[in-house]
C-alpha cells in the first residue's frame, strides 16, 4: 500500500500538472444518469473539463478503465465535518480525504460546528480551508442563530459567501412560525431548506427506535411519529410558502408516504436517505453497539423496505452518508449518553453497491442518487459527464472487496455502524477538476 500523504497542502502541485493536461479514460462503462447514458466508451479530459476529443495528442495520461464504471464525481449532500471546533474528531482536510477515498468529489457540510455556520465569516473560513483538498466542500448555513430556533441567521450574506442550502441539522426548527419565515426567506435565494424532522418532545431521551428491540434492551424508544409529524408540518409549510423543502435522512415508512404525496401534489419537496437506514434495522442495536445509535434511529424492516421502495419510485431523490464522526471515548460512554451518529463517507459506495442493486434498482439508478439527484436538489452545476462539464469523475471497481474495519478509514473517527461487514465495490480513481486525486484506490500524492 502506498504511503498516504501527510497533508494535502504538502503535496507538490507539479505532479498533478503533468496529468491535468489530458487524461484519457479508456474503455470503461460510462454511466451518466443526467443524460441517461450507459455505454462503453472513452472519456476525454483536457484542461479541467470533459471534452469530445483532445486538441492534440501530446502529454496524454491514460487510465485503463476496462471493466470499471466511469461515473460523474459523486456528491454527498449531508456530512458533518467537525472543523471548526472539534478537530480531534474530523477536520475539513481529513473529511475531504475520506470523501475522496469514498469516491466523492463534492461534499456538503452541515452547520453544527463550533462556532456554528451562521455568519458569512464561517462560510468563508470553511471554503478557504477546503481550497486544494481532494474533494470540493460546499457549505450549508444554519437557519436559526445558535440553532435555538428563535431568530433567523444572515442567510443572504451566507448565500453570497457560497452557502448552497440552509438547515439546523442535528435538531429540528421546533417553532413552526420560524420555519415558515425561513422557508419564505429562502425563496429570495431559491435555495432549499433542509429539514431534520424530529419532534423533540416525542423523541426526548430516546436512544433508539421504539419497538420490540427497545423494549427488550430496556432503552427509551423514539417513535416513528416523532419524524412523521415534523415531515407533515414542513410539507404543509412548503405548500404555504412555495419554498423548496428538502427532507433529509428519512427513516420511516410514514414519512416516505408523506413525501410521495407531496410530490404527487406538485410541491417543491425532495428527500434523501442514508445507507444505514436502507440496510440496517433496530436489530443492529442488540449488544448495545453505540455505533448503531444514530439519529433518526434505525427502524424496522417494514420501514427499511418502504425507504427502498421510495428510492426506487423516485420519492427519494438522493442518498447521503450523514457522515457524523465522534470520538471513540464518547461512543464508549453509557449508551444513553453516547452521541448519535455513524461515519459514512467511505462506506456509502461499497454498502449501496453491495446491498441495493437488484432487479428493481439498477446501477444507473444508484449512481443517479449519488450524482444527478443531489446536484438537482442543490441546483449546482455538477453531476454529469457531458462535454463542457468540469471534469469531476469517479471510476469504480464493483468487484473490489472491501472489509469494513477501522484501518479502512481516513476519517479521524472510526465510529461506523458497518464495522465488521464485508462489501464489494469501491472507487479506484477520482478526478477532481481534471486532476487525478485518487489513484488505484489511494490518495494520489
Amino acid at each position: 500500500m502506498a504511503e498516504r500523504p501527510k497533508s494535502w497542502a504538502e503535496l507538490g502541485k507539479g505532479r498533478f500538472k503533468r496529468l491535468t493536461d489530458k487524461i484519457l479514460i479508456k474503455g470503461g462503462r460510462v454511466i451518466d444518469p443526467a443524460s441517461g447514458e450507459d455505454s462503453v466508451r472513452d472519456i476525454y479530459v483536457e484542461k479541467h473539463v470533459i471534452v469530445e476529443k483532445f486538441s492534440n495528442d501530446k502529454n496524454i495520461s491514460v487510465i485503463d478503465a476496462k471493466g470499471l464504471l466511469v461515473t460523474p464525481g459523486l456528491i454527498d449532500m449531508h456530512v458533518h465535518l467537525r472543523e471548526p471546533g472539534r478537530e480531534d474528531e474530523e477536520t475539513i482536510e481529513s473529511g475531504a480525504q475520506a470523501a475522496c477515498a469514498g469516491g466523492f468529489t463534492t461534499i456538503v457540510c452541515m452547520p453544527n460546528t463550533d462556532p456554528r455556520v451562521e455568519t458569512r465569516s464561517v462560510v468563508e473560513y470553511i471554503t478557504k480551508r477546503a481550497t486544494g483538498l481532494p474533494s470540493k466542500v460546499k457549505v450549508v448555513g444554519a437557519i436559526s442563530v445558535g440553532s435555538t430556533g428563535e431568530s433567523l441567521t444572515e442567510m443572504g450574506a451566507m448565500r453570497d459567501a457560497g452557502a448552497v442550502a440552509f438547515s439546523d441539522d442535528g435538531r429540528p426548527v421546533e417553532d413552526s412560525a420560524l420555519m415558515r419565515r425561513a422557508l419564505e426567506y429562502s425563496t429570495v435565494f431559491d435555495l432549499p431548506i433542509i429539514s431534520h424532522a424530529e419532534d423533540m418532545a416525542l423523541s426526548d431521551g430516546g436512544v433508539m427506535h421504539e419497538g420490540l428491540v427497545s423494549t427488550s434492551l430496556g432503552l427509551k424508544g423514539i417513535p416513528a411519529a416523532a419524524e412523521d409529524i415534523i415531515v407533515a408540518r414542513d410539507i404543509i409549510l412548503s405548500k404555504l410558502t412555495g419554498a423548496k423543502l428538502h427532507v433529509t435522512h428519512l427513516s420511516t415508512a410514514g414519512s416516505v408516504e408523506l413525501v410521495r404525496a407531496a410530490k404527487k401534489e406538485g410541491l417543491k419537496v425532495t428527500a434523501d436517505v442514508t445507507p444505514h437506514h436502507l440496510v440496517l434495522t433496530a436489530e443492529s442495536l442488540k449488544g448495545y453497539d453505540a455505533n448503531c445509535k444514530v439519529n433518526p434511529p434505525l427502524r424496522e424492516e417494514a420501514d427499511r423496505k418502504a425507504l427502498m421502495a421510495g428510492l426506487i419510485d423516485g420519492t427519494i431523490d438522493a442518498i447521503v452518508s450523514d457522515h457524523a464522526p465522534h470520538a471513540a471515548n464518547e461512543k464508549e460512554e453509557e449508551i444513553e449518553n453516547a452521541p448519535f451518529g455513524t461515519i459514512g463517507l467511505q462506506t456509502t459506495l461499497p454498502i449501496t453497491l453491495t446491498h441495493l442493486i437488484g432487479s428493481k434498482f439498477s446501477l444507473s439508478e444508484l449512481i443517479g442518487k449519488l450524482t444527478k439527484g443531489p446536484a438537482q436538489i442543490l441546483g449546482i452545476d455538477e453531476g454529469t459527464l457531458q462535454p463542457g462539464s468540469e471534469a469531476d469523475i469517479t471510476i469504480i471497481d464493483t468487484e473490489a472487496k472491501v472489509q469494513i474495519e477501522p484501518s479502512l478509514f481516513l476519517s479521524k473517527s472510526k465510529n461506523s455502524a458497518f464495522l465488521g461487514m464485508k462489501a464489494s465495490g469501491r472507487a479506484v480513481y477520482v478526478i477532481l477538476r481534471g486532476r487525478l486525486v485518487l489513484k488505484e484506490g489511494e490518495l494520489a500524492g
Binding site: T215, G218, L219, G287, Y288, E332, E333, E334, I335, E336
Partner: protein, 318 residues
C-alpha cells in the same frame, strides 16, 4: 454441575437446565441461613466486588450477605452515577477492578446494557444486579424460587405483573423467565407504562387489574416511582391507587389461593395497601429470604469453578 454461561447478564443467558440447577442449589443453601453459624467455606479466598453505581440497599446487602455466608471476601464499591459520567469511564473503572485480581463482579448501574459492556471489558464473571431498565435477573430467579416453594410448580400458573412495566427491569426479567418455565404471564398497566410490543416477549397485556385479578394465581406488584407518575401520566398517587393499586377491596376479590409478591421497597398505600402487604397471602418477606439463597447459588455456580469442587462444596453446604 455448573452453569452453561460465564456471566449472568440477562435471563436469556440461561438454559432451562441452568434455571433448574439454580433453583435446586438455592433451595439447599437456604439451610445455611437458618443455622446458628451461617457460613460455609465454599468461596474462601475468593474476592467478590459489589460494584454499585446506583443507590441500592436491598440488593447490595443481599449480595454482600450471600458472598459472606460463602466465606468470600466481599468488597463494596459504590459511587454516584454522576461521578462516573464526569470522571472515569466504565471501561477504565472495569480495567482497574480487574487488575486487582477479583473473582467476580456484581454490578448495579443506571444504564441499560452496562453489565453487558462490563462483561465485554473484563474476564471474571459479571453478575447483573440491575442495569437501567434492562434486566434484574437475580430478582427474577429469587421470585421463581419463591413461587416454586409456594405452589410446588411453575408451569400452568397464571401470574399477573402490575405496575410500571416500561421502566421495570424486574418485569423484563420476570416475563422472560416465567414464560420459559411455562407460566402464563399477564402484565397490567395503563398504556403509557407498557413498553412497545412487549406481548412479543410472550406475555398478555391488560389495561385493567379488575379484569384479571380473579383469575390470577399470583399478583406481582411493582413499585411506582413518583417521578414516573408526574412525567408520564398520573396527577397523583391517589389516582394510581384507585385505578391500579392492589387495594384491600381488590384483594378481597382475588382467589383464596392467590399470593402477592413485591420486589420492594413498597409504597404502601400507593401500589399496595397495608392490609394486603401484611396479609397471610403475602410472600414478600419470603422473597427477601430467598434473595440471599439465590444469590449464594449464583455466586457459587459462577465463581465456584470446577464441578468436582462444586460437588464437595455442596456437601459442605448441606
Amino acid at each position: 454441575m455448573a452453569l452453561s454461561c460465564h456471566d449472568l447478564l440477562a435471563i436469556e443467558d440461561l438454559e432451562k437446565a441452568d434455571i433448574l440447577t439454580l433453583i435446586d442449589t438455592a433451595a439447599s443453601f437456604k439451610d445455611v441461613s437458618n443455622r446458628q453459624i451461617k457460613k460455609v467455606p465454599t468461596l474462601r479466598g475468593r474476592t467478590i466486588v459489589n460494584f454499585f453505581l446506583e443507590p441500592s440497599t436491598r440488593t447490595r446487602t443481599s449480595f454482600e450477605i450471600a458472598g459472606k455466608r460463602l466465606s468470600a471476601d466481599v468488597i463494596n464499591i459504590s459511587g454516584s452515577s454522576s461521578s462516573l459520567v464526569k470522571g472515569e469511564s466504565l471501561k477504565d473503572m472495569a480495567k482497574t477492578i480487574e487488575a486487582m485480581q477479583v473473582d467476580a463482579v456484581v454490578v448495579r448501574h443506571w444504564s441499560s446494557g452496562s453489565a453487558f459492556k462490563l462483561a465485554h471489558y473484563i474476564e471474571p464473571p459479571v453478575i447483573n444486579a440491575g442495569d437501567g431498565k434492562h434486566e434484574h435477573p437475580t430478582q427474577a430467579l429469587l421470585d421463581l424460587l419463591t413461587i416454586k416453594e409456594s405452589f410446588g410448580k411453575i408451569a400452568g400458573l397464571k401470574i399477573t405483573i402490575v405496575g410500571d412495566i416500561s421502566h421495570s427491569r424486574v418485569a423484563r426479567s420476570l416475563v422472560v423467565l416465567l414464560k420459559t418455565m411455562g407460566a402464563t404471564v399477564t402484565v397490567v398497566a395503563p398504556p403509557m407504562l407498557i413498553p412497545a410490543k412487549i406481548e412479543k416477549l410472550g406475555c398478555n397485556v391488560s389495561l385493567s387489574l379488575d379484569d384479571v385479578i380473579e383469575k390470577s394465581d399470583i399478583l406481582y406488584i411493582l413499585r411506582i416511582q413518583k417521578e414516573r407518575l408526574t412525567a408520564d401520566l398520573f396527577s397523583n398517587y391517589a389516582e394510581y391507587n384507585r385505578q391500579y393499586g392492589l387495594t384491600k377491596e381488590r384483594w378481597a376479590r382475588a382467589s383464596k389461593k392467590c399470593k402477592v409478591m413485591h420486589p420492594g421497597p413498597m409504597n404502601r398505600g400507593v401500589e399496595i395497601d397495608d392490609e394486603v402487604a401484611d396479609s397471610l397471602g403475602s410472600l414478600i418477606n419470603t422473597q427477601v429470604e430467598n434473595g440471599v439463597a439465590m444469590r449464594m447459588a449464583v455466586l457459587y455456580l459462577l465463581v465456584g469453578g470446577a464441578a468436582q469442587e462444586l460437588g464437595g462444596a455442596r456437601e459442605g453446604a448441606l
